[in-house]
């Protein structure tokens, strides 16, 4: 029992599968937990507003509701100026959060690649259209072409008819042989078989095309059609929406700001999900793209470890932690296998690099076309000379694209992590000095 730290305060950033599990596990282990998410609801990209919610989602969300875990919705982390402190925007106001241990469960975003017309209204992400559908968008009678890459294409295409949409075609850029290998790889993950079968059954009436990708979205003020290309033909499909994304890229900005080591695009963690930054843990997509099950397993390990690992790295890890974490560690190992299969199964084909024309917009915020990047030597060079990544999203969309197109790693995260009103940053220092903090589990920093 000596490893219980009743006063240990843990902040979990992100309320998706990883963050929910981390928050509940840390709470069960005796910590005082604050869970924050920028969205108005918990659940993350996969569970938010799901109708009907999956059993596991319903259970975790229910437990969160019934637990004393403080959940701050609509709360965006803006800066991490020093260890133990986070600056957030909550209801438009500055809020300082302090923590002994921090769990990053910031998830992933979709990778968007430029092609002519990709900036037209009604060209969305695959997760993007799903989020809007869950957010109440009625797709009755709408034709939605689903394109890009990754298993999300299938599950979203399967769910869209529930919102009334027709899906005339699903275009997966990966080749059939890769997909077959993916399907076979899934056999080793017992939990995934029913899911895969169910998908295949639902997708039967749909038109699934492997080795196919969009080359142009048509329209003037909005999308009207999309031209697809496969090995032997190119054809145009009329549609109301194009849902298109090429896999995921992790949300690393906060981890980078905190100084966590990132290798090959992912946060480096140890067996207990500890990053290289002291007292900072990480779970879910930022450590490797692998889906909700991996995220939950990692989240549980991170939450337990954050609550129970001793302050002193040299003290022995308690038996209590070992025994509580054991099942999650085992599950995590199985999921890591799936993550590896996933990574090998959807390699991006090099032809995708040739899709943007010289005049195609690459940086959407600043309208930087591909041709303006000619002669630039790096992300920073293009930023300073051409305004690449200077806009609202600060390179979150074009960074992944230029990394794929031009091989430029994106550099340099600066606060605020999300745009905030001048008023908020002007008041930030004051908010810190103010002891009358309305949130019981947040204390003003020093």
């Amino acid at each position: 029992m000596s490893d219980l730290h009743p006063s240990r305060e843990i902040v979990v950033v992100g309320a998706g599968p990883a963050g929910l599990q981390a928050a509940l596990a840390a709470h069960d282990a005796g910590a005082r937990v604050t869970l924050v998410d920028a969205s108005p609801e918990a659940g993350g990209q996969i569970w938010r507003g799901g109708h009907p919610p999956s059993r596991i989602a319903a259970r975790l969300l229910g437990r969160l509701r019934d637990s004393p875990v403080q959940f701050l919705r609509g709360c965006t982390i803006v800066d991490a100026p020093k260890p133990g402190q986070l600056l957030a925007m909550h209801d438009g106001n500055p809020l300082w959060l302090s923590y002994h241990r921090l769990v990053l469960a910031t998830g992933a975003r979709e990778r968007f690649l430029p092609f002519p017309g990709w900036t037209l209204p009604n060209v969305l992400g695959v997760g993007g259209i799903q989020a809007l559908a869950k957010g109440g968008l009625d797709l009755a009678g709408k034709r939605v072409v689903v394109a890009g890459s990754g298993p999300l294409l299938l599950s979203v295409a399967a769910s869209l008819p529930l919102y009334g949409a027709q899906v005339p075609v699903i275009a997966e850029q990966a080749s059939l042989s890769h997909l077959v290998r993916f399907a076979l790889g899934l056999r080793y993950l017992p939990g995934k078989i029913p899911e895969a079968l169910q998908l295949a059954w639902r997708l039967q009436p749909l038109r699934f095309q492997a080795a196919t990708y969009p080359v142009r979205a048509h329209g003037d003020m909005r999308l009207t059609a999309v031209t697809l290309r496969s090995a032997d033909r190119e054809w145009t499909v009329d549609c109301d929406y194009l849902a298109c994304a090429f896999g995921f890229v992790p949300n690393l900005e906060l981890a980078e700001l905190l100084g966590c080591t990132v290798r090959e695009g992912f946060v480096v963690v140890d067996n207990w999900q500890q990053t290289t930054a002291p007292d900072v843990y990480c779970a879910g997509e930022p450590t490797g793209i692998g889906g909700a099950e991996k995220a939950m397993a990692e989240g549980a390990v991170a939450g337990l470890a954050a609550a129970l690992l001793p302050e002193d790295a040299n003290s022995p890890v308690s038996r209590n932690l070992h025994s509580q974490a054991a099942p999650h560690l085992a599950r995590r190992a199985r999921c890591h296998h799936f993550a590896q299969v996933l990574e090998r199964s959807f390699p991006l084909r090099p032809e995708l690099r040739d899709l943007p024309l010289p005049e195609t917009t690459v940086c959407r915020c600043e309208d930087v076309p591909l041709i303006h990047l000619e002669g630039c030597s790096s992300w920073r060079d293009a930023k300073l000379q051409r305004r690449l990544g200077m806009g609202h999203c600060q390179g979150r969309v074009c960074g992944a694209a230029t990394e794929f197109l031009l091989g430029w790693p994106m550099q340099s995260v600066r606060p605020p992590l999300s745009p905030v009103p001048v008023r908020l940053l002007a008041a930030a220092a004051l908010a810190k000095a103010d002891d009358s903090n309305p949130h019981p589990q947040t204390r003003p920093g020093q």
């Binding site: 100026p81 609202h392 905030v420 001048v422």
Partner: protein, 386 residues
């Protein structure tokens, strides 16, 4: 390039200007830049091209420099975002308005276009300013620019005359006219120009330079929010004082419609991180003058380092005690403005021509001569504007 006549260390706007001017004199120039063109303070600073009159030497240099800017403005690429918006010095009270009156008379006496604004004129020019201000001084020919593309443009001109620019090459040490690079290579030239900004101190330890950190914030697009580069007259106290920390209202309309918000000054800081206490003060100061600013979004904040000399004047000329080595650094908060003049003066001195203005106030030798002379340099804080 095997045997360059001159090597310029640093491709900030000052190094770029030196390279451009030296190449115009027929020198074969090699530029070495540790990162990319226009890094350093050139990427971080505000890009206000401004005539300042805190002391005679500053006035002479900035006025000469602005003239050079105006001469080439029409040739600048679009990315340089040249906007001839003028500077509006805002007077909060009658005391500041008096100061503005004196400043106005001085500018006019020197042939610089300037107008004193009554409170009424002020609000006509900038309706978003808070009520209750006393007036202001409008200096017409000042401008704002985005400096990194200017550095690139200057280097392009140098390249067209045979110069070579190597980026990603850091000079490790400087021994006489010999440069040692990070990768172990050595390079030599008859003339080495150190234009490495605040990092020049690392190449020549003992230079009278101190990094002076500044914070900046950029907003979302809000076209037409303000029309001039706005600065409080109290800015001069911040810029020229020697306080450890100070902030001043300083807001710049960008060609994109964004607003760039400054300014802060801190001595004794070497890390690039954001200090929230100072940032908050700086932004609050801006809101005090422009209440509507509060609701605009900030996209990014960052910091930069001014290379400050004790008298806040740059170091332009041969380095004392070092053959072949010349300095072009120490421009504090005015190096964008004075970059073009720096390159011209340096090239004139190298060629043995008489520069357009008297170069002695900027000669590095001023700090390296007798101790008693050094201490006799007036602290700029004591100098009031004319």
């Amino acid at each position: 390039m095997k045997h360059p006549d001159a090597i310029v260390i640093g491709a900030g706007i000052v190094g770029a200007s030196c390279a451009e001017r030296l190449s115009a004199d027929g020198q074969r120039v090699l530029v070495l830049e540790a990162e990319v063109v226009g890094s350093g303070a050139t990427a971080a600073g505000m890009g206000h091209v401004v005539v300042m009159d805190d002391n005679e030497a500053e006035f002479a240099l900035t006025r000469y420099a602005r003239q050079l800017w105006l001469e080439c403005a029409h040739q600048l690429p679009a990315a340089a975002e040249w906007e001839p918006v003028g500077t509006l010095w805002v007077a909060a009270d009658d005391e500041e308005l008096d100061a503005a009156r004196g400043k106005c008379a001085f500018y006019r006496s020197q042939g610089c276009r300037a107008d004193l604004l009554s409170a009424q004129d002020l609000y006509r020019a900038e309706p978003k300013l808070r009520p209750g201000l006393a007036g202001g001084l409008l200096v017409h020919d000042d401008a704002v620019t985005y400096p990194p593309p200017v550095a690139a443009w200057l280097l392009e001109r140098a390249r067209n005359r045979g110069a070579e620019v190597r980026t990603g090459v850091r000079v490790q040490a400087l021994e006489g006219g010999t440069l040692r690079l990070m990768n172990g290579d050595s390079l030599q030239a008859g003339l080495v120009v150190v234009a490495a900004g605040a990092a020049s101190l690392r190449l020549i330890p003992g230079l009278p330079l101190q990094p002076r950190k500044g914070h900046l914030a950029i907003t979302d697009r809000a076209p037409g929010f303000v029309h001039h580069q706005l600065v409080e007259l109290g800015y001069l106290k911040s810029a020229h004082g020697s306080a450890l920390e100070s902030v001043a209202f300083n807001v710049q309309p960008r060609a994109t419609g964004q607003l760039l918000i400054g300014s802060s000054r801190q001595f004794g800081q070497t890390g690039a991180e954001i200090h929230h206490a100072l940032l908050s003060r700086m932004l609050q100061r801006a809101i005090d003058y422009l209440p509507g600013l509060a609701d605009l979004s900030i996209l990014r904040t960052w910091t930069g380092f001014r290379a400050a000399t004790p008298d806040k004047l740059p170091l332009i000329g041969p380095a004392p005690d070092r053959e072949q080595v010349w300095l072009a650094t120490g421009h504090e908060g005015l190096g964008i403005t004075t970059s073009l003049a720096t390159g011209q003066i340096l090239a004139d001195l190298v060629a043995g021509r008489t520069p357009g203005i008297d170069p002695t106030p900027y000669a590095p030798a001023r700090f390296l001569s007798a101790e008693d002379e050094r201490s006799s340099i007036p602290e700029a804080a004591d100098v009031h504007f004319h």
